[in-house]
Symmetry: C2
Subunit: 278 residues, 2 copies
Amino acid sequence: MKFTEQLAAAWKNNDSLLCVGLDPDPAKFPAHLKDKPDAIFRFCREIVDATADLACAFKPQIAYFAARRAEDQLEALIAHIHDKHPGAPVILDAKRGDIGSTAEQYAIEAFERYQADAVTVNPYMGRDSVEPWLAWKDKGVILLCRTSNPGGSDLQFLKARVGAGETPVFEQVARLVAEEWNTLGANPGQCALVVGATFPAELARVRAIVGDMPLLVPGIGAQGGDIEATVKAGRTGAGTGLMINSSRAILYAGKGEDFAAAARQVALETRDAINRFR
Amino acid sequence: MKFTEQLAAAWKNNDSLLCVGLDPDPAKFPAHLKDKPDAIFRFCREIVDATADLACAFKPQIAYFAARRAEDQLEALIAHIHDKHPGAPVILDAKRGDIGSTAEQYAIEAFERYQADAVTVNPYMGRDSVEPWLAWKDKGVILLCRTSNPGGSDLQFLKARVGAGETPVFEQVARLVAEEWNTLGANPGQCALVVGATFPAELARVRAIVGDMPLLVPGIGAQGGDIEATVKAGRTGAGTGLMINSSRAILYAGKGEDFAAAARQVALETRDAINRFR
């Protein structure tokens, strides 16, 4: 099934726009897991099993695995999600971006090795750096548009001359993706965008440009974005269209052996807080 | 030793501005290596040993390793370079880019796990996505500025309003890096830029903006960039300042058991062709 269809089914089945980000930092793990050789896998598996009916997607961040030589645990984690929670979309947050021949290798990494359903990609190198990902016809390609960090403004908020007018770079990215890149590839309609929750007005601008395209929205919780403003600015007419990501607030809600139950409680509250404004 | 100093020493000691890119594609390996479990390591090691006195740096592209679960071979390769060819700078071509807490994880991956001397980084997420890399005081951070692929123009060539004037996005990146990001961190002067060889006029513009900052220049050889135009546009007053990368033309110069000798011959010719125009 195509990623965007899989996502739409998850929105509906779990009544959820919440994406659970998996950024496993062993320094923050509960004591009973810290010495285990596969602590990263175990920690993430418990989080996944405790929140799978509350989330529309899981988003493992590959840097946390790669920094600790834990690629095998990332493989095992994604295999576990596909096995135990069929239908739950897995977004590999890798923010890759390179020339075509290299992008093909990264796509093999994300889609064949890790069996991710979608991947985050950096748009800075343009169309031919994105096209190879689209050859995997059921996979999703989620392009960085407006990121939630302070430095996001350095380039993304530059005003660019386009035709007779002026437009911020991030809006030009949204237009390029919606009008061009999303029409390419084996199965047009594979693209989505990353737009941070810290800028609701800009989220609304992107929504106006891209129609019903799914938006992955980091920045609520630890990064300070407001849920009501985010949902109202980013939702589609159908009250969906969003993957609102929370990582640290859920993962580290508890510090003891019951950390997964604490994570479930925060995930439940976050899902419901989101749903109040859909 | 700081990356930029290590690079300056390699320019001088090997009388070379040639960077050998290591993009190991097993489909193109000589027959006698194809069945070996560590074929990627063996192939790259032979290339490295045959060209180390002709190169100013080696640039392994991590996607080619990650696509084949060969992270251990990448670790072994870089350890081999440091062990057998001390002083040869290793640039991990990873084009990472993420928010600060994630960038820290990627920096651990590149600098502690792989022991790279420098890394390529994508500037799209701005200053705070770059700053964590600079905490490693002897490491180099090479920001994408103007890439050599056709789609590079999609964003990098947009004209942005800056103050009263207009400037292409890639020139604004060059300015941000030279004037701000290069002054940050534990040991100011850690930055360099990626500027493709396919656009000599733009390479000259970047050189005019950044003074003597090192430029990593892909795009000669298989990608079609002209050596004379590249060197004349990009060299510093001292006739250095460049890491001119060639990957495929060197790696796959030969198809037989003597592939490393064939690679050496092409590396020698390329180094000397570059030197004719310094």
